[in-house]
Symmetry: C2
Subunit: 198 residues, 2 copies
Amino acid sequence: MPTTSHSGDVPARSKRADALRNQQTLLAAAAAVFVTSGVDAPIREIAARAGVGMGTIYRHFPTRADLVIAVYRHQVEACAEAGPSLLASADSPLAALRQWVDLFVDFLVTKHGLANALQSDSSGFDALHTYFLDRLVPVCAQLLDAAVNAGEIRPGTHAYELMRGIGNLCIGRDSDSRYDPRRLVELLLQGLQRPQSS
Amino acid sequence: MPTTSHSGDVPARSKRADALRNQQTLLAAAAAVFVTSGVDAPIREIAARAGVGMGTIYRHFPTRADLVIAVYRHQVEACAEAGPSLLASADSPLAALRQWVDLFVDFLVTKHGLANALQSDSSGFDALHTYFLDRLVPVCAQLLDAAVNAGEIRPGTHAYELMRGIGNLCIGRDSDSRYDPRRLVELLLQGLQRPQSS
DNA sequence: GGACAAGCGGAACACTGCTCCGTATAGTTA
DNA sequence: TAACTATACGGAGCAGTGTTCCGCTTGTCC
């Protein structure tokens, strides 16, 4: 199995030195631009910021999703790893799930437009969608299962659906004081809890 | 107060006959195109379908949101009017709320991309956002209040937030069998119910 | 140093939103 | 009916963006 190396992080060997340098430059530039202009920023803007041509971007990151993934990989990884450790440290599986979801929401709402991109049907964000889900759904599923087994929440909810729902709730203008994604996510979690002695 | 007439429905008088005809033609064409290509369909496509120039579209509907509003006005109106009548006919305020939300979700999921447009921060969808909210939030608020007063749900949730949350949950590729917006909306409503004798 | 593959840059093309203005015509008046 | 004018129409054209492609540059290896 040829460990495809996923075009990010510690880069594959046997590339030319300038290519490696450019890849890092691009990641830094993209990260900076994403902060100010969101993940939908024009490719030209990122290229200009990095001082490279557009061809260079497309060579390193064939789709925008590839670039986004590379930029945020560390954080996604951290979120994924937090799952099991929260499960071990928290008071209960439900508490762990709650904290984990909080982490996930944090991540989404601080990255301008990321939640949008995660759900957008058209455009080439499929890879992003896939990556996020592949990496985080199993983690979420583990937390969910644990909470179900502990009898804290009702069974029947799939991690995939829950995560997409949470992602969706985090979409929107982040400067609208009347809309706080966290409150709704909390409502969703409340709904998940099995009706106490109904 | 000069009843701005909102560029839809029974059109304002004192326009040329051909203009009126074109307006109707455009509405029909847009409705048809929205079904197949979603509310993000290229303006050119709608113009071609209607057999008019692009200038004509922009004259009648200065922004895309105006066009969308005009096309769906009847249905939004129907949804708004359903609120009070459900409240009168349903078994309980909560039941009424539930049915109304169902109606709302129906509307959103059958209009390809509408839910997306409703939340999109950029682009000129502001008018759409405003129109929907102005028209439907009061209705939702009435249902919500009634349910709170009946002691069926906990107080503290704002209609605006709830509606945006529901709208958000309805975003997404409508052909993903693993994601059913209705299930999540139901979860949200569950979360709304006051904890039974906790 | 020289050869050549790897990499680079950005012009060019495609697609879209939106504007602007010359042309056509509905409705009016004589 | 014929002329006239306000109204409306059409679509060329501009601007912004994604994406490709190819001639030129440069790192690497001998």
